[in-house]
């Protein structure tokens, strides 16, 4: 018997290793993956295991793995037996195979021996060790990270764009993690992530621009070193499908150079500091495709039916909004079904939508009428007067009284009149170049679906199905895309306007 308890031998090593590499994050420049060590992240801290290369394979020394994971390794009868709490892996030298608790697993390479030390390929960890180990093992080969247990280690990708004298950093975090941007001194900002560690990818930076370097300050904090030409920054958070996107716009001092001409969509102008994950102005959008089911809406002379046009545009708009803005979109109907007017508004209210857009197609008894109109709710004076009286003193839970603002359900829209009007005007402006507009581009009408909406709300009549030319256009993909794009642009501008107002408040 020639048993050698590696674990005992390396008992003193972990403390040393931990001390020396505790603050080394697995930061790596994009496109360069020749990292020489594997970083192991666990609740106990951070350790590095030096890797060797054999052929094309990255190999990890078995004794180091044994130290980190408390494995017992025995070499006997030409085989290596790795034990962990009564479970075993048997490796055969020169064979890319492992027997894990009696099950045969193939490996990318055979164990190799150099100067009396055994090394195993990296997939030994994910394919063999993970099967017998108590905690979850998450091997991220591109970043040479091994995460032990349920640590939150989001992947963080940084992209850098130089925009004239300004610059933009786009930081995507997958899965989502909250981040905080702070300016530390005149030439440095830091981004701190609410996570156990980050798995960071940084692009190569040419230090002559506004951004001099991106470095890792501690396991969850990223430092951006900025040159002397840095003036100020604006940051905004954009939730994507599975990721959080943080956009940091870096600009030179106002008097140095003209302001950057680029004002791309992902940068709602939130003024300076500090918390960036503050919710964007619009988090949820409700799109209401008019009619549906037995309610066809307008039927054009060529047989085009309003309910289908509204649904098609709603789907296009939803896809465009989600792709570009990453905000939540709720449809009042996703297929051909009847939905009552009350249900439509209730769905928007219950989902706390920040904007409500109802899509319709118009008709006139005179067939030559054409063009889109954006409608706002209208209330006659007596109703508006009633809204002014809508605060009552009611008994509160636990005694006493509270002033409760009571707004009748059918008047909820009154308080959003200004914002709705703003949205309608933005829509009309976006439509003007792309979609035929009626002479009354923005109009008011006592429209039921808008009156109870407790958020800015508009109803878009996209064109007249009673007009033969427009009927064909509205049924076509080109016009539907134009409409969806125009609405998307208006939403972006509306969001920025709301954010501006919020920031200056």
């Amino acid at each position: 018997m020639n048993a050698r308890p590696y674990s005992a031998f390396f008992q003193t090593v972990p403390a040393l290793v931990a001390l020396t590499i505790l603050f080394v994050v697995a930061a790596r420049p994009a496109g360069q993956n020749a990292a020489q060590s594997l970083t192991v992240l666990s609740r106990d801290g951070r350790r590095a295991i030096p890797l060797t290369t054999s052929g094309n394979q990255e190999m990890a020394p078995l004794d180091e793995l044994a130290a980190v994971f408390q494995l017992a390794v025995r070499e006997e009868a030409g085989a290596l037996t790795v034990s962990y709490r009564g479970r075993t892996i048997v490796l055969t030298p020169n064979q890319p195979l492992a027997s894990v608790s009696g099950r045969l697993i193939s490996l990318s390479a055979a164990p190799s021996r150099t100067a009396n030390r055994w090394s195993v390929p990296l997939d030994f960890i994910s394919r063999a060790l993970a099967l017998i180990y108590d905690s979850r093992l998450d091997l991220r080969r591109p970043s040479h990270l091994l995460i032990v247990g349920d640590l939150r280690v989001p992947r963080v990708t940084v992209r850098h764009e130089a925009l004239g004298s300004a610059a933009r950093l786009t930081i995507d975090t997958t899965p989502r993690a909250v981040s905080t941007v702070v300016q530390e001194g005149p030439q440095r900002i830091t981004v701190r992530f609410d996570a156990d560690a980050i798995d960071l990818t940084v692009p190569p930076i040419q230090p002559q621009g506004l951004v001099q370097a991106i470095s890792v300050i501690d396991p969850v904090t990223l430092g951006v070193d900025l040159g002397p030409r840095f003036g100020t920054f604006r940051s905004s958070a954009v939730p994507l499908e599975n990721a959080a996107r943080l956009v940091i716009d870096l600009v030179p001092p106002a008097d140095a150079t003209p302001a950057p001409t680029v004002a791309p969509p992902e940068s709602p102008a939130r003024e300076l500091p500090v918390l960036t994950q503050a919710p964007p102005a619009i988090r949820t959008l409700t799109i209401d495709p008019g009619h549906g089911g037995d309610d066809l809406g307008v039927r054009g002379a060529a047989g085009i039916v309003e309910k289908n046009v509204t649904l098609a545009v709603a789907h296009r708009l939803k896809a465009a909004v989600e792709a570009r803005l990453g905000i939540r979109v709720v449809l009042t109907r996703d297929d051909d079904r009847a939905v009552s007017v009350n249900e439509r508004t209730a769905l928007a209210n219950n989902n706390k939508a920040d904007l409500f857009i109802s899509l319709h197609a118009n008709a006139s008894f005179r067939p030559d009428v054409a063009g889109a109109t954006i409608y706002l709710a209208s209330f006659d004076e007596s109703m508006a007067a009633r809204e002014g009286l809508a605060s009552e003193r009611l008994p509160a839970l636990g005694g006493g009284f509270r002033d409760i603002e009571l707004v009748p359900w059918n008047l909820a829209q009154i308080r959003h009149t200004a914002r709705s009007t703003e949205m309608a005007n933005l829509l009309a402006a976006e439509f003007r170049d792309r979609v035929p507009l009626a002479s009354n581009a923005v109009d008011h009408a006592p429209l039921r679906v808008l009156e109870s909406a407790n958020m800015p709300a508009v109803l878009i009549e996209m064109g007249y199905l009673s007009h033969s030319g427009q009927e064909k256009q509205l049924a076509g993909a080109a016009q539907q895309t134009e409409i969806a794009q125009s609405i998307l642009e208006a939403i972006v501008k509306f969001r920025d306007a709301v954010a501006d107002e919020g920031a200056s408040r």
């Binding site: 008019g290 009619h291 309610d295 066809l296 809406g297 307008v298 039927r299 309003e306 009552s340 007017v341 009350n342 319709h360 197609a361 118009n362 008709a363 006139s364 008894f365 005179r366 030559d368 009428v369 109109t373 409608y375 006659d380 004076e381 007596s382 109703m383 007067a385 009633r386 059918n410 009626a438 002479s439 009354n440 109009d443 008011h444 009408a445 006592p446 429209l447 039921r448 679906v449 009156e451 109803l459 009549e461 007249y464 199905l465 009673s466």
Partner: protein, 218 residues
């Protein structure tokens, strides 16, 4: 002599009778006849068959998005609620080109009521909804045709609510809120119509305000 006296007395009497007829019967008739014809509408005369009033009815304007006013003769009726029925009956009747009606052709008037607050409830047959071509503009034109036909022609009516087949409805074709009586709205009339009906609209609006919000919303 006696014969001469008798003849003279008879002549004087004849002249006196002729003068008296002229003063008390002939002249009044002469002067009053034309006056009576011009003031036909408000005259409290009993309803006679064939008697008409002039009313403004509403049809789709040339631009297709508003209503225009057309003066039409409508049978005279009493009291106001009956006059309202006559006006609506005339309004929903099919018309010939070049006029275009915003009321679906098969629509009939089932009933009409007035409240003391000046609200009219116009109960139309289901065709007004089932035969409606849809679209916000068309729906608005249909509704405001009925609203204006009453608000403009009958000062006592300040707002109108449409019922369909005897029931209150949410909307006619999915857009316009019909849960409350709607006052007249000049936004849905073309310019000549606005010029013609503005005083009536203004009067109705003033009445609405005097009656207060609680009357307007129910």
């Amino acid at each position: 002599m006696t014969m001469r006296h008798l003849l003279m007395a008879a002549g004087v009497t004849t002249v006196a009778i002729a003068l008296a007829w002229l003063m008390f019967v002939g002249l009044p008739n002469w002067y009053l006849r034309p006056a009576a014809t011009t003031a036909s509408a408000p005259a409290p005369a009993p309803s006679e068959p064939g008697r008409k009033i002039k009313a403004r009815l509403f049809y789709v304007a040339e631009d297709g998005t508003r209503l225009t006013a057309v003066e039409r003769e409508v049978p005279y009726a009493e009291p106001t609620v009956n006059q309202a029925r006559e006006i609506i009956t005339a309004q929903i009747a099919p018309v010939a080109e070049p006029l275009v009606s915003a009321i679906p052709p098969a629509t009939g008037l089932r009933a009409l009521y007035l409240t003391e607050q000046g609200e009219a409830f116009v109960d139309l047959s289901g065709d007004v909804a089932s035969a409606h071509p849809g679209g916000s503009v068309n729906e608005l034109l249909t509704i405001y045709t009925i609203v204006h036909a009453l608000v403009i022609n009958l000062p006592a009516v300040t707002a109108v609510q449409l019922l369909v087949d005897g029931k209150e409805v949410d909307t006619l074709a999915g857009h316009v809120d019909l849960r409350r009586p709607l006052p007249g709205n000049a936004a849905w009339l073309d310019e000549p119509a606005v010029a013609a009906v503005e005083p009536a609209l203004h009067e109705a609006a003033t009445l609405n305000q005097q009656r207060g919000p609680s009357d307007a919303i129910r």
